[in-house]
Amino acid sequence: MAMTDTDTATPQMEISDEVAIEIRNMNKWYGTFHVLRDIDLTVHRGERIVICGPSGSGKSTLIRCINALEEHQRGSIVVDGTPLSSDLKNIDKIRSEVGMCFQHFNLFPHLTILENCTLAPIWVRKIPKREAEKTAMYFLEKVKIPDQANKYPGQLSGGQQQRVAIARSLCMRPRIMLFDEPTSALDPEMIKEVLDTMIQLAEEGMTMLCVTHEMGFARQVANRVIFMDDGQIVEQNEPEAFFKSPRNERTRLFLSQILGH
């Protein structure tokens, strides 16, 4: 499953000291089920973090909390200096800073690709339509599907759709990107095109939080890999160290299962 190594050299890791996301002591429950337990995480600007772990470990919930798609019940999340509270103004601010890509792309099937990309800039950022379209075309070119701009999502392949979803997020000019298992709904031959796009994005210095099982991707671009289990961060380390010598038993077990065949 691991991605084949590409020729591109490992990108430079320019991590500033500036903090992009600061999570302190965050807890979340679904009813009585304790999904996230005492999460502490600091993400610096320019950092690329891959989160992995068995299903149900809370990794998706974690990044959905950052985007306020889920509400956390205890602890604090500060994104780019803005505390995530129940104040809608703050939520709006954070959401416009943070882009998100979903497992099932979640493109709007009744809008064309171009409309998908310009909708939020026009209505949320209040950017004139013409300018929004220009930006959209720029990003569609970056994800290499400018010629599909006037098609509908249903007419595109899964990989193309996910790339559009990335472009759609980028059109909002986010400073942070969250990826929620972006490749797990894709056929194998389409995974590469999406990962290439993500690598390209990483090379440009985007701060990224990525829930994925693509360990090749993690090795290549991540500067930190986080392993979660049972709602807790069990282990985090630089990719080399993480894969070579996992310290925790659970991590080892997980890695042997995912890489071992």
């Binding site: 709006d92 099932h104 493109l107 909708l119 949320v124």
Partner: protein, 432 residues
């Protein structure tokens, strides 16, 4: 399989076998009949029974139509012309046609107005249904239509519908200018502006009531099939927005809003329409201001609209539920607020899914407009049951009248449902 040596064990076909005609038994009418009519002995019996039924039906209906007469001005005269040849007495339709269509009170020299309004309907509706095929500006026609139709059917000065339309336009403009500062604010501004324009317009229309004036017709004078159509169209169009609001309310996380919507919807769906018409007829008047002139038609429109909106709300709720949760999340993550997400993302898709259901409700509602005859309004059924069957000339005639009523409803309802199925297929094929 790139090896193509003819003598190798592997086989590669190099010529195509031409298609041959099937054995005679397997083709043509005989095969069709054997497969479709006489496959088993049970099937054969069924076929014979069905053929007999069709024969009975046709032998009754065909002479009735063929021998029927369109002459005569009363049943007695008609019977004389027919001389017992089993034909129908369609003269009643010829003579009472205007009454069946317009009731007996709509002034006959003004009938061209509702007729014109009816035909304009065919111009006004397509843009709304073919948003994806026609240029967007054609929607203006649809938007103008209700006001024009009101003016044509009810008459009065053109200022009334004009200002009603102006109010809507002004409200919309105010809304779109202030919307950037928040949806709620925009909505409030829109409503206030619209109300202001309507108030001023009301004063002006009262003052210049002779300006471009069509002769006014009171709604009491509406009748016949026109009443069914007016009630059906008005109530369905009014109930759509209310139904959408109710459906959104029922999905809402606010207990008060949700509770009200659930209670309203379940209440309305739990009682028969006729009891609601009784309310319109004998109860509602107590709860409306006595000086405002809410006549029976208006009260009936209110109640039927409420009735229809509960059903439409349920249909739309189904559409909303059918949308994947990801659509809501994507809208959220892009930073769209609730109003924007609903308007731009959720409702367009939910409504598209709901179209067949909405059409079903609309057809059902249109059929149910005949119930107003029970509260002594003279719609098509009311006209037949009342004035026509009670008249000295035509008492005792029923097959022809009821057949005509059936035909009129069938054409409209069947037409709508076929059309909606066609539309559904169109909507399915595009985009995918």
């Amino acid at each position: 399989m790139s090896d193509t040596h003819a003598e190798s064990v592997a086989f590669v076909r190099e010529s195509v076998i031409p298609p041959a005609p099937p054995p005679a038994k397997e083709a043509g009418a005989i095969r069709w009949m054997r497969e479709n009519l006489f496959a088993t002995w049970f099937n054969a019996i069924l076929t014979l029974v069905a053929l007999y039924l069709i024969w009975v039906l046709l032998s009754g209906v065909v002479p009735w139509i063929v021998n029927g007469t369109w002459q005569g001005s009363s049943l007695a005269e008609c019977r004389e012309i027919l001389q017992g040849n089993g034909g129908g007495c369609f003269a009643v339709l010829r003579e009472r046609w205007p009454q069946l269509l317009f009731g007996f009170q709509y002034p006959d020299y003004l009938r061209w107005r509702p007729v014109l309004a009816f035909f304009l309907l065919f111009v006004a509706v397509p843009p709304a249904l073919f948003v994806m095929f026609l240029p967007r500006w054609t929607l203006i026609v649809t938007a103008i239509y209700p006001f024009l139709a009101y003016w044509l059917i009810w008459g009065g000065t053109i200022l009334t519908p004009l200002f009603a339309a102006l109010g809507v336009v002004a409200g919309y403009l105010a809304f779109s200018f202030t919307e950037r500062r928040g949806f709620v604010l925009g909505l409030a501004a829109g409503v206030v502006t619209a109300l202001a324009v309507w108030w001023i317009g009301g004063l002006l229309a009262g003052e210049f009531s002779r300006f471009l004036r069509l002769e006014a017709v009171v709604s009491r004078a509406m009748g016949g099939f026109m009443l069914n159509l007016v009630l059906g169209i008005v109530c369905v169009s009014l109930s759509l927005p209310i139904g959408i609001l109710l459906a959104l309310g029922r999905q809402s996380s606010l207990p008060v809003v949700k509770g009200f919507c659930v209670v309203f919807i379940e209440f309305v769906r739990g009682v028969p329409l006729i009891t609601l018409l009784f309310v319109a007829n004998v109860v509602l008047a107590f709860f409306l201001p006595p000086d405002a002139n809410f006549d029976l038609i208006l009260r009936v429109i209110i109640m039927i609209t409420l009735f229809a909106s509960a059903y439409i709300a349920e249909v739309i709720r189904g559409g909303l539920a059918a949308l994947p949760k990801g659509q809501y999340e994507a809208a959220d993550s892009l930073g769209l607020d609730y109003a924007q997400a609903m308007r731009l993302i959720i409702l367009p898709q939910a409504l598209k899914i709901s179209i067949p259901g909405i059409v079903n409700v609309a057809v059902g509602l249109f059929k149910d407009t005949t119930l107003v005859s029970v509260i002594s309004m003279f719609d098509l059924v009311g006209m037949i049951r009342g004035p026509i069957l009670a008249s000295t000339a035509w008492a005792g005639i029923y097959w022809e009248l009821w057949a005509a009523a059936c035909l009129m409803f069938f054409v409209v309802c069947y037409g709508i449902s076929q059309y909606s199925q066609w539309l559904e297929r169109q909507l399915q094929t595009d985009h995918r």
